[in-house]
Symmetry: C2
Subunit: 223 residues, 2 copies
Amino acid sequence: MAKIRLIEVKEEIQADNRAKAEALRSRLAANKTFLLNLMSSPGAGKTTLILRTIEALRDDLQMSVIEADIDSMVDAEKIATTGIMAVQLRTGGFCHLDASMVEKGLEGLDLASLDLVIIENVGNLVCPAEFDTGAIKNAMILSVPEGDDKPLKYPLMFTVCDVLLINKIDYLGLSDFNVAALRQRANTLNPRITIFEVSSKTGQGIAEWTRWLKRQVDEFRSG
Amino acid sequence: MAKIRLIEVKEEIQADNRAKAEALRSRLAANKTFLLNLMSSPGAGKTTLILRTIEALRDDLQMSVIEADIDSMVDAEKIATTGIMAVQLRTGGFCHLDASMVEKGLEGLDLASLDLVIIENVGNLVCPAEFDTGAIKNAMILSVPEGDDKPLKYPLMFTVCDVLLINKIDYLGLSDFNVAALRQRANTLNPRITIFEVSSKTGQGIAEWTRWLKRQVDEFRSG
C-alpha cells in the first residue's frame, strides 16, 4: 500500500518562473538593454566589483544597478554615491531573486535609455542558482578567502554562470587557494565558463573583466 | 537628487501569501481539520517528534503528515512506516513553505476525514518564520545542543510560534544550556508562548506535549 505521495513543488514554480524570465528577455532584447545577474556568497565583493565596473564603463554605457537585500539599503547607498541610479529590492525572507522580482525592480527604470543593468543578487551560493532571473548573462564571484573547493560544494552555481570572477587575488600569497585546481573544477562543471582573476581592492584584472563585459553588451545590442 | 528607489518586494509577496493563508484557514475550519506547522533547524528532531506524536495520538485522531524537503524523501519514508499517509513536497531551491505550497500538499489528502495534519517545514530558523502557511498553530523545536541563545539570533521564529518544544533534554547534563534563561528569552519575545521540555529519544515530556496538542485539536473541532 503506497503511503507516500510525492509533489514536486519546485517543478511547477520553476516552470512558471522560466516563462516569466523568457518574457523578460524578449523585453530586454526589444529595448537593447543587457541585464547581468551577479551572484556570490556574502562578503565576496559584489558591491565593490560593481563600483569598479561603473568606474570603468560609465563613459561608454548608460548603466543602472538593482540591489537585492534581505533587509538593508547599505549597498544601494554605496552605488548611489556614484550618481548611477540604484533600485533597492528588499526581499524579506527570500534568499534569491526570481524573474518577477527583477521585473518589479526594472519598473523603476527607463529601459530604453539603458545599455546595461547589473543585478546584485542576494548573497548566497545555493538558492540564486536555482532561479532564472531573466538576465542575459550570469556572473559569479568566488573570493580567495572562501577556498578553492567551492565548485565541489555548490556545483549548480558554477554550472549556470557564464563568467566566474576570482576576486581578492591580492590574498593569494596569504592562502593555500589553488587557482589551477579551482579553474579545473569550474571547467569540469562548465567547460564554457569564462574566468577572470581580479582584485576589486587593487584594481588588478578589472580592465580585462570590463573589456569582456563591454564586448558582451556591444554584441547583444548589435545582434 | 534621489538616486535610490526602494521596492519592498517582500510586502507584495507577503500580502498575496497572507490572503492565500486566510483562505486556507477557512477551508480547514469548514473541514474541521487542524493544521500544525512544525519548524526548527535541521537536525533538531522534527521527524522523530512527529513519529512520537503519531504514536501517542493515532488511536484518538485521524492524522496525516506533509513533509517538506529541499531534495529528499527520507523523512516521508520514515512517516510512511507507521502506516500514516505522508505527502512529500520537494521544494527545490526554496528554504520555506508558503500557503500555496501547503495547499498543493493538501490536494493529496481527504481533508474531511482528517482531524490533524502536521507540516514538517524546511529545516531553517529564518525563512519559514516569515511565511504564513495557513496553519492553525505554529510550533517550533529548539534542541539543547543548539544552545540557549537562539531567541537572540532568531527572534521572529520565537515570536510567531504558539508552542516551543525544547527537545533533547537528555543532553542537558552534558551541556551548559540554561533552560531558565531560554524560557525567559522566549517569554520576553512572546509572552503567550507555551513551552514543553521533551526528549523524543527517551519519551520524556511527550505525554504533556501530546495532551496539549489533543486539547487544541478538540477545541478547534468543537469551536
